[in-house]
Symmetry: C2
Subunit: 598 residues, 2 copies
């Protein structure tokens, strides 16, 4: 189906919004009136710009407070409408959105509403324009889609139809049965369909609507269920996004538009309107790649952790370090960030690397060059929203290109296999793109997203959300700081699974490694909360091992000091399913203590 987006969903000038919508692949736009008023372009220039960009103007919106008012008020409304219809002709827009009134003078009289909307439609018809009447969730007298439809039906005017909006319908806590009435509306009388999702918040619906909407799949609404009902009517207009969101207002329009269009592609897949290449869920982590301007500090930490430098890339300054099944690449090539060592790429084991890349591309992920150098194995790779490069790997599978074959074995043997593997990777997300990151990992990689949790840092509140594959062999924790400029976040890390965290921590320390010091007060509290076997608590306190427990098991973990922007965690999870969020505030405070300048 055709896709469209309201200009209010994107940041910037009208020109920036239109350009971003076109580049992201939308077919059309809804022109939000205030964006037009604030634009220096004439309506004819806007029309031309849209045509040049391959965008149709699917809706002009909104007209407010039209119906069910005294006659003199309605006469003024018609005068206002005539101006707008003239404008719409200059724009070449042929559908206008009319929201159910919130005017203090409006009366609760469906017959009057129908009569006045019919008069409005008469006028619209003169201009070749259709009127789409929508119930606002907080409308004064009309607040449900079925009520709005009854008025439209009573008016019986060919230029008057209804507009359905998923936010206004689903924010009222509609039960599935409340949606059944949709299928009784003739599809040709549904003039427009606006889609938005939202997190499930118990708050004033007007504030919720104006500040917290998000793209389908990023919130808690069953937008797909609603769309299925609408498709059942025979509706064949565009699927259009109308999202008011304080974060999107500040974010760059380009990435937001891509995120938006991806959400519609996934929605179309969900309801059976489109069949992009199927998701290829990764089955493990092949490697994590660190870039650094100076390999020495991170090599020292890896060495103390027990990693051996087992191989070197044939043509690039990249070392492979291995410990059991954990593989880490250390790249001293040109792309290291100025602020030091960082996690730049992840290799994901994929049953079908080419298929994974095809899906990623279909869902608008930037595809990276398959081959970086002539002699390298051609690897499928895409960029995640935070810039992390994701390689789809088939390690040591004969029929597939093998990244490992680009490396020449060094003198060192890897340690005992199976003792260690990468438990999870924690990535810091750009503040404006946290919801996008979750949708990306879910839809592009086919991972499952867990609930979002708040974590108290001494200098602000962070949010964290994990995405995982079914057997937990791929776990990525996505974190975001309290503010766009948050420099307090130390969340980028590589967690290594071990069967015996105490032994691993001791070995690391004996090899000269430095663990993050944990305050004694933490251990006093631990003793108050749990009873431990003899000596167990003392060992944790001595080493700086943290402890947590959930319904599934116990969790013991500790942290190395930070190198550049990265640190390592040793984790022993005996059934435990979480990520130690309970202990994160203590870890964050301890990291702040070690920061230069504090």
């Amino acid at each position: 189906m055709r896709t469209s987006i309201a200009t209010v969903s994107l940041s910037g000038s009208l020109t920036e919004k239109l350009t971003a919508a076109s580049r992201a692949g939308f077919d059309g736009v809804e022109i939000f009136e205030n964006d037009l008023l604030a634009s220096p372009l004439t309506p004819e220039e806007i029309r031309g710009r849209c045509a040049d960009l391959g965008l149709t103007i699917d809706l002009y919106q909104p007209m407010r407070d039209i119906e069910a008012v005294p006659a003199d008020e309605f006469a003024r409304n018609l005068r206002r409408a005539r101006h707008k219809f003239e404008l719409m002709r200059r724009l070449d827009a042929d559908t206008v959105l009319v929201c159910s009134t919130v005017h203090p003078l409006a009366v609760d009289d469906d017959a009057l509403a129908a009569e006045q909307l019919s008069q409005l439609a008469d006028l619209a018809q003169e201009f070749g324009i259709r009127v789409a009447y929508e119930a606002l969730a907080w409308g004064r007298h009309v607040s449900t889609y079925d009520h709005a439809w009854r008025i439209v039906e009573a008016a019986g005017h060919p230029a008057l139809g209804t507009c359905l909006d998923s936010f206004h319908i689903l924010s009222r806590g509609s039960e599935p049965k409340d949606l059944e009435g949709i299928v009784d509306i003739p599809g040709e009388k549904i003039f427009f369909l606006q889609l938005a999702d939202a997190p499930l918040l118990a708050m004033d619906v007007l504030q919720w609507s104006r500040h917290y909407r998000c793209f389908p799949g990023q919130g808690g609404f069953d937008v797909a269920g609603l769309v299925r009902h609408v498709l059942h009517t025979g509706y064949d207009g565009p699927l259009s996004l109308e999202v008011f969101n304080d974060v999107f207002r500040q974010a760059e329009a380009g990435p937001t538009a891509v995120d938006a269009h991806r959400s519609l592609l996934v929605l179309q897949e969900t309801v059976g309107l489109a069949t992009p290449p199927a998701p290829v869920v990764p089955t493990g982590v092949a490697f994590a790649e660190l870039v650094t301007p100076d390999a020495e500090p991170v090599s020292a930490v890896l060495g103390a952790l027990g990693f051996a430098r087992t191989a070197r890339h044939r043509s690039k300054p990249v070392d492979l370090w291995e410990l059991g099944e954990a593989r880490i690449l250390v790249n001293t090539g040109g792309s290291a960030r100025r602020d030091g060592t960082g996690l730049a790429a992840i290799g994901l084991e994929s049953p079908d690397p080419a298929g994974a890349a095809r899906r990623a591309e279909a869902l608008l992920a930037p595809v990276l060059p398959r081959r970086r150098a002539p002699q390298d194995a051609p690897l499928d790779a895409v960029a995640a929203p935070d810039g992390t490069e994701l390689f789809f790997c088939a390690t040591n599978r004969p029929e597939q290109p093998n990244w490992r074959a680009d490396f020449t074995d060094a003198e060192h043997e890897a340690g005992a296999p199976g003792v260690h593997r990468i438990d999870h990777l924690a990535l810091t997300q750009p503040w404006h793109h946290f919801d996008e990151a979750t949708l990306f990992h879910r839809s592009v990689l086919g991972l499952h997203a867990q609930e979002s949790v708040d974590v108290a840092d001494p200098y602000g509140l962070m949010r964290s959300r994990a995405v995982t594959n079914p057997d937990g062999s791929v776990r990525i924790a996505l974190s975001v700081g309290a503010a766009p400029t948050d420099d307090t976040v130390h969340a980028q890390h590589i967690a290594l699974a071990t069967d015996d965290v105490v032994a691993a921590a001791r070995r690391y320390r004996e090899a000269g490694g430095r663990l993050l010091p944990i305050p004694a007060n933490y251990y006093d509290d631990l003793a108050a909360r749990y009873e431990f076997a003899d000596g167990e608590w003392e060992t944790y306190r001595e080493l700086g091992i943290l402890y947590d427990r959930d319904a599934y098991g116990e969790f013991r973990h500790c942290y190395t000091v930070t190198v550049g922007r990265v640190f390592f965690e040793l984790v022993q999870r005996d059934g435990y399913r979480g990520y130690g969020a309970q202990n994160a505030p203590v870890r964050l405070a301890a990291q702040h203590v070690l920061r230069p300048g504090r």
Copy 2:
């Protein structure tokens, strides 16, 4: 009364929080458990640090999920409590907060709750500790203060009392009569009083509590009314602030603590516990002072607006420009900001400058040196939270020091008096201190705060709130951007009142001044919304004059282009009481068009 603040209300490490609380003048603190757990200081070191800073530890908090549980669970709770009581002795803290349970195993049995709390109090008594039991608004079985008190009363234990918390009481939408039960509680059984305000939001009370609390006087609760009831009981413990707020978590602890303590000083004045010097409400704007590294561009704008350079400071590079009753100082001295021309100071006409400064000082405003140079008139001045210097002036009043006497008349005469005056000043506030700014202007200057409004900028949502004196001769519009780093805000400006904005705009343009160009689309919309007299609309469009209307009258206004960080507005308000917020998005978009780099 003694004042106290919970460490959770401030940002940073425990040490930073304690230092900030002490410097702001608090007598004591509540130690929030997580702050202690994350601190590298031992309890004895924390106790010593507090003693050095002159702070008592008035409360340790919180203990959760203690009461009304099965016996084995309760035994574990007592074990945990013993650990905490030992810790509290090391801290020298003698009151602990126990929140009503939210535990899934807790039963709805007041007798069991009383019995178990009594056992807890027995144990506490061994350590010389008192237990303050508080009803959480979302408590599983106990969610109101009177219910918590009935349980405490039934227990009848000398070491068990109640804690009242204004958020938990007032967030439940309590009517004034619901508070009457407070006075029936014996004051000596109210072991603690926690205070917080909050904006009136219809949202989930747990989320509201954890993210949106603010200091008394910054929200919509009648905190003073509640405190009056509590004082009636004979309560003589501290007034203590417990505020969970996402913004305060990120803000620097020092200014937040000052803001916090000011809120308690004002609260004590409101309920008659303290009598700081009375507010001296300013009666007009004596001058606005611009600092600039280069006087030429702003002088050109002032000249085109009709200002004459009427005087020069005797000893400093400061010119006085006058137009009617509007006076603007242009200072090319050393303090100009690197980013160019900015509004640095405001002279406020004061009936009693010394009294105004005494109140400001009593309410923790930084007092500035009275005399900048030996020969200058001694002027009382303080700094607002955004750094703007506020001078309390007595222009041309013989008995008072006169700032005007520091200036030597120049060759130019001022224009016709009375035609122009400063209508309002718009100041951009630091993102983390918007609520503080409002409380400052209300309490320190005695101005009235209007409702906060949202304003859509193309690159984010701004908030704006005006503070005024009774006759409107002092109006300051405080604005804040969408994010801490927002560089899109162009809100700092000086609005000049005129009786004829059309004539003023024409004169400015003819004198070579450049007005902000307003898009033609705005005028098409204006014609749709209102009917104008012949030629009126065409004149507005020609000049770039914006129009608004409220219940009190009409508003016509236009803007100069921006110089550095400042622009001027010409306003004609014929009864209208607002600030043209309706037109602000169009103005902001037009300003973005002119920005370099767009």
